[in-house]
């Protein structure tokens, strides 16, 4: 089993005719993801990699009622509009790859998605992959392998690094969720932990955090307060980051005394989460907790 995406996932690509959109449509298709439609306003009638393009999501859904997921590659100035469109079209899952969306806009559409019962992954994220079943994202598929460990991460390449190390060590993944590096993500660590909790196919969870905000601390509180049954191991990036500086991601900033790595690591360890010093240590920590 997996969470969020699986062999039943049917995808519409918003912004499919753009450089990124078309490139990753090809990559997803070749991974085996079922992409039924693309959307670019004004480009209705075209095809990209054999996928029919529509002017709007509503039309795509009318033509392909099996659609349940959208992935958005629309440039940041138009991305919010694309998200509202996908929510109103009744999709269940929206993966927002786009980086650079103003946080005031994100706050609003994340709230709007919530009241409409829609799950948003991102923005500014690599997407979601359930190895061997479906990839709705931009990650290199070959570093992942099918297995029983879930990953949830605020980062992209660091996740590939860790997934790759796990794969090499023979530890496969159920689903890997890149929740993105923005300050207000549609899906939080706690949301992801809850999904993995319900999933029969996940035995343990790798949590990849970084500086900024208090999502790791809240996850730690959640783990201890809810008596989380599955082992969690973690890595937190940014212990050498200075305060007040944005480290690449819009959300990766220590500000107003909140969000440094040391305190995140401390809180996670206090609730019994094994935290790796180096990304390469994740596989051995997993073996340790899974043996128990």
């Amino acid at each position: 089993m997996t969470v969020l995406v699986n062999s039943e996932t049917r995808v519409v690509v918003q912004g499919i005719t753009g450089r990124e959109g078309s490139f990753h449509t090809r990559a997803m298709l070749s991974y085996g993801t079922k992409i039924l439609a693309g959307v670019t306003p004004g480009k209705g009638g075209a095809t990209v990699e054999g996928v029919p393009v529509y002017d709007n999501v509503m039309e795509a859904v009318r033509k392909h009622p099996e659609l349940n997921t959208s992935i958005i590659f629309v440039p940041s100035r138009f991305a919010s509009d694309a998200v509202y469109e996908a929510i109103d079209a009744g999709l269940d899952l929206i993966v927002v790859i786009t980086e650079g969306i103003p946080v005031h806009e994100t706050m609003k559409f994340v709230r709007y998605a919530k009241i409409n019962g829609v799950t948003i992954i991102g923005p500014n994220c690599p997407g979601v992959i359930s190895p061997g079943e479906s990839k709705v994202g931009i990650m290199p598929g070959h570093v992942f392998s099918k297995g029983r460990v879930g990953i949830v991460s605020r980062s992209g390449t660091l996740t590939y690094e860790i997934a790759y190390a796990m794969t090499k060590a023979g530890i496969g993944q159920s689903t890997c969720i890149g929740i993105g590096g923005d300050p207000v993500p549609g899906t939080s660590f706690i949301d992801a932990l809850e999904m993995f909790r319900e999933d029969d196919g996940t035995d343990a969870v790798v949590l990849i955090g970084e500086i900024g905000g208090d999502m790791e601390e809240r996850a730690a509180r959640y783990i201890v307060e809810q008596g989380y049954e599955k082992p969690v191991v973690a890595y937190v990036a940014g212990r050498t980051a200075p305060p007040g500086k944005r480290m690449g991601h819009a959300g990766a900033i220590i500000s107003m005394g909140v969000g440094d790595a040391a305190s995140k690591i401390k809180v996670l360890r206090e609730v019994g989460v094994e935290v790796a010093e180096l990304p390469s240590q994740i596989p051995s920590l997993l073996m340790k907790v899974l043996k128990k």
Binding site: F23, I138, T240, P242, M247, G248
Partner: protein
């Protein structure tokens, strides 16, 4: 992006928040004239973006225009916590009965704007949150609804004011929220909000942080997007890299923010001192990599360069060509450690080996090598 105090005060004024009269000047003579024009006691305030300018001598009370002149002279051109003072504000000294606190921030954990109000302003709000949290009222605003009068009434009530001032505090709260919303702020703060003996409210200091992602909506500020960056940070930003300066000697260059931080951290864990954070992002081509490597080659404190690339959409051959290009064009030679993995790994390795640069396959090993070359702490 942080705004200067005078920029924030100009915005506050436009949105109906009362600020003490002020002028911004860049010469001592202008400071004297401004002080004369404003009359009475004035405050001379260095316009810098770093925090804590008060303790660093950047805020002075002047009884006469001559004093204003001499304080301005002291400040202008000096450095406060590493930041050069280019402008000072001359502003009317306000009689303060009590200092209050009012701000609107984005609460990341709930994904909503939050109004913070305290009857005890003037101090650092983080400090207050630690020592007397019961003195801070936090009101969550639904981002789809925005501020309502009742939020403002609640905030104002918490400030412990007389009937007469209460209404002004409500208006200030609404207006501050309007600033927050209009300018897509991460933070809009009045600290202190001064209660004057006649029951007035004056924003004695003003702080606004804009969301860099929304900057394009505000052309009046977007041209100055490198204002709070060092020279190298600004150069990198113009090239669309994320770059942050640290004090070590091992330059770090990676693709992806998380991997870059993890690489810095690995160097540190293994005993070394990272010199920077430099993320070239996803899918960078050779020319971009070349510019990034050049930046690190030219940076004086950087002795070793550690390049750690996990190729996905980024192609290793493009990275290799960029590295080689930078070395050839600058003619600078520094110790370079390269770890390349992923898309077109073989081609990349070949290009580097032809130029006598040897690739290490594992990240830990590469980090260890960088520390070995750069020296342990």
């Amino acid at each position: 992006m942080k705004l200067y105090e005078y920029e924030a005060k100009n915005i506050f004024s436009q949105f109906g928040i009362s600020v003490p009269r002020f002028k911004v000047v860049s010469t001592p003579e202008e400071a004297r004239l401004a002080a004369e024009e404003i009359g009475g006691r004035v405050v001379v305030k260095a316009q810098v973006l770093v925090a804590g300018r008060g303790k660093a001598g950047g805020v002075k009370l002047a009884d006469t225009p001559e004093e204003a002149y001499s304080y301005a002279k002291q400040m202008l051109g000096s450095e406060i916590k590493g930041e050069r003072v280019g402008k000072v504000m001359i502003t009317k000294a306000v009689d303060i009965e009590r200092e209050l606190y009012l701000s609107i921030i984005i609460d990341r954990s709930i994904g909503a704007p939050v109004i913070l109000a305290s009857p005890e302003g003037g101090v650092d709000i983080e400090e207050l949150a630690r020592t007397r949290p019961e003195k801070i009222l936090k009101i969550v605003v639904d981002p789809l609804i925005g501020i309502r009068d009742y939020h403002a009434r609640q905030a104002a009530k918490f400030l412990e004011l007389s009937e007469q001032t209460l209404r002004k505090a409500q208006e200030a709260t609404i207006n501050l929220y309007r600033v927050f919303e209009y300018y897509s702020c991460e933070l809009a703060e009045i600290n202190p909000l001064a209660l004057t003996p006649d029951g007035g409210l004056e924003a004695v200091d003003a702080k606004i942080i804009l969301d860099d992602n929304a900057l394009y909506k505000y052309p009046e500020f977007s041209s100055d997007f490198t204002r709070d960056l060092s020279y190298y940070e600004a150069e990198a930003k113009k090239m669309n890299f994320s770059y942050v300066e640290l004090d070590g000697n091992i330059g770090i260059l990676c693709n992806g923010a998380g991997l870059t931080m993890a690489t810095m951290d690995s160097v540190y864990v293994l005993g070394g001192r990272p010199a920077n954070f430099l993320d070239i992002g996803g899918g960078a081509r050779a020319d971009l990599v070349e510019r990034a490597v050049t930046l690190l080659l030219q940076h004086p404190k950087t002795e070793v360069i550690f390049i750690n690339i996990l190729g996905g959409i980024t192609r290793c051959d493009e990275v290799a060509n960029g590295i080689v290009g930078a070395l050839k064009k600058t003619g600078v030679s520094k110790k370079i450690v390269v770890r390349l993995k992923g898309t077109n790994e073989e081609e990349g390795r070949k290009i580097l080996e032809e130029n006598k640069i040897y690739v290490i396959e594992e990240m830990d090993e590469a980090a260890g090598k960088a520390v070995e070359l750069g020296g342990r702490r």
